[in-house]
Symmetry: D2
Subunit: 279 residues, 4 copies
């Protein structure tokens, strides 16, 4: 699998500089030569992001908790001719985080991009019914592990002279999803984590931004649109006409990781179809 | 000690309706007959809040982790003629949270007000240097325990037909304090927790608001103003002329718990002397 | 009319220090001796604010565009034993603004508090249907006149060593009301005006804060709740259980003008019953 | 492969669908065939945006108030092989706005994109020193004219089945620039205008987003960085390491107008190098 990826790497590099005679501009794959880690990327929004980063020229390491999901995602993306490898990673485990980093470095020589997408929601119901265990799990995975994963990746980015981190939060950080209280709170924390990391990492030439997807049609959000009545009610509550697609969250992540976003850091971009969020 | 509090209770009730002949208005102690729990209230902002709630007519249960601090605070406030009792409470421990609630109910027959002020910051330095243990401790105490304490108190508030919760966050929720990364992130989470709780508890007639103190002169914030040079630099960075006093955070908390704030819920009020925060 | 106000002034001062035997505390009318201007205060939220400031001890000058409305409001408030006088003022006219200030100074010797509540909404419909004239009128009255009124009042506040300004915006500053586009935009501008004034006036010891009422039952907002169906629909859209009352906006204004808010400036407080607004 | 690129370069339209053999993906100029109006685009940020939209495949109509500036900008961009035309337009004048629209439609058959960048700041100093005339001018040009220009353009976008608007505000919308009070306030209003328009125009398939540049090196912002001492002081106040370049604001605008941003509307993206703004 990796061999295919490596072979493709050579091909992809070759189209990185398509010169346009008429304008004197070089039109490059915006993430050419970049190495990107994307967690929780074998499905839904993470998968769409991984695919897009690879389409834009990056070598992408996809990961999630189950080997078979990783295998399926890698096969699918390689089947599209993309430079993708995979590794099992439970971001809540320190040794997994380390392994993710070392594998990426071994395969591709370094890390330029991290998309931290891993999140759990072991709970659906009233916020006040959430137990201590629920809070522990959600804060552990959604907040602490995100911070620690950045910590693990930064030294590698520094070796490359800089890098780009995108943390995936949610529009629920601003405007709570019903029945997902602790999840919502963890996402608000990520907006703060983004600001804090951006300030601290600016001097190392590492940008940190945040994607806040609105209501996107994925397995994760199924509980919010599982039947037509609920879908209609949530669309009305969120003042949106349609539920978004995972692909619609991917372009902005690639953009934020590209040279074009060189002066954007600490920002959260909501991809929510106009649902209420923040000024 | 409790006896004094109970005796005073009678006296306090007696001034609750001081009729003003000149204007025909009744001027009441705004929190008369209310029972208030304030965590981390033996020092600094929490102490100032406890005192103010008591001055405004509430029976206040102060608490913090050490018996001697509780004793000192209770003695000081009772010495001012206030209706105050105390109990040791480490909000991170479920049995302590339960005990806080049952004690308050036993003493005063119920709970109307909760001010959740407990917070730790076991870390000063770069965000990326924060260990897993640091994150665990900060998220546990500052976020999870706040949520679980509200959970423990709500049934008592319901019995009284409603109540008022104030969660103490920080201006750092919006505009990070330097070198306090994980603390800042936990405070951003609390702004989100406030919104989520407010929505969920509205139907039970419980309001949930948030106080976000700016740079206030307390032992907790000492690291930010410990010498004159640092104080000057942080005042300039925060665009403020002077550091605030704990008392300046207390009035708004009492206000938010009073009948005057009957239509205010889900709000965070920054008490920051004009430092940058949010629109 | 003014004579009554002046006479009452003496009486009111007499209840400013009601000593509470039981607690040893002095309980003062929080705005005793303060002189307050409130624009657009003969009805709705402005009227409720004027009444409350007077109840809290201030001498209040009410104003609006029509003499008969001013007379009615003054009569009503004086009938309650409050220290209130009135003057016709169209805040869009420079000479009216000047006259408001000079009259207040002549009557009461100075100005301590300004509540800028005047606003128009000469338009109900699609934002894109708003004409140049509509925009002119709304920006003129709601934004420019507010700034110029503060400008006219500040020199008087400086003579008193400081003061307090409260600008009345709307929750629509954050979360647009349907069919009130230009009005909504003008209210967002006021949130910005508040921040800017707060920073600039801090050195003169003048605080500037902002009240953002949610859906409050007034003639002004009638269009939003005029029939039961519309009221239900807007309550659902705003996730609130009930529409607020003007009185529920008044306490926070008095609070923000009191000594208790000495470290609060540049802040916008939403009084919205939990409707979506800002983090 | 590069040879193919060079051949294709000869006609920009022809490279809109460059099939990449290696990956099977089609790589298009993201704004191919789109017609874009950019106001105030003969210099600074507007010029950089106009160039970028043209580089990304759009036919761009640049404009500003002076013929010679328009001529110079058009010559420069055409000299780079870009599809650019120009027209004099003072956005404060209704007939100019109309002419801008009709010219663009005559030249290119319709309008898909509007970037509203025109702004004035006829004032540098204390907010309270701003006269009625200053406020009139700033609100007229920066807010009202932006709204009316969108109004003029929307019918043309509807004919094309949709479109994309980007309003240029400023980081000062959130975090005021010193000595630019009325300008700052007008920019806050634009963030609100963006939200309002986004909600209203969603049903017509028109997205409305907002760019909020931070401290960017342009003639406009010269007053903020004119000497080294001031530059250093403002960099420290804004917690940024370097001042941005106009080009760094251009990529995000192109992105927001592209198909990649299909689910992003009502959003403000700060391009501020990490300076304090909003959560």
């Amino acid at each position: 699998m990796q061999k295919v990826g490596l072979l493709l790497g050579g091909c992809i590099r070759s189209w990185k500089l398509v010169r346009m005679a008429s304008s004197g501009m070089a039109r490059r794959a915006p993430l050419a030569n970049k190495v990107a880690l994307v967690t929780a990327s074998t499905d839904g929004i993470g998968f769409a992001i991984a695919r897009r980063l690879a389409q834009d020229g990056a070598h992408v390491v996809v990961s999630s908790r189950k080997q078979q999901n990783v295998d399926r995602a890698v096969a699918a993306l390689q089947g599209e001719g993309l430079s993708v490898t995979g590794i099992v990673c439970h971001v809540g485990k320190a040794e997994h985080r380390e392994q993710l980093v070392t594998t990426a470095v071994k395969l591709h020589g370094g890390i330029d991009i991290l998309v931290s997408n891993a999140a759990v929601n072991p709970f659906f119901g009233n916020l006040l019914d959430a137990t201590e265990e629920v809070w522990d799990k959600i804060l552990d995975i959604n907040v602490k592990s995100a911070a620690l994963l950045v910590k693990a990746v930064v030294p590698e980015m520094e070796k490359r002279g800089g890098g780009s981190v995108v943390i995936v939060a949610s529009i629920a950080a601003y405007s709570p999803f019903p029945a997902l209280g602790p999840y919502n709170v963890s996402k608000t924390a990520l907006v703060g984590l983004t600001k804090n990391l951006a300030i601290e990492l600016a001097q190392r030439n590492i940008k940190v931004n945040c994607l806040a997807p609105g209501l996107i049609k994925t397995n994760f959000s199924k509980v919010l649109w599982m039947d037509e009545a609920r879908e209609e009610s949530i669309k009305e509550a969120m003042r949106i006409r349609r539920i978004g697609k995972p692909e619609e969250c991917a372009g902005i992540v690639s953009f934020l990781c590209s040279e074009d976003a060189s002066y954007i850091t600490g920002e959260t971009v909501v991809v929510g179809g106009g649902a209420p969020s923040h000024l």
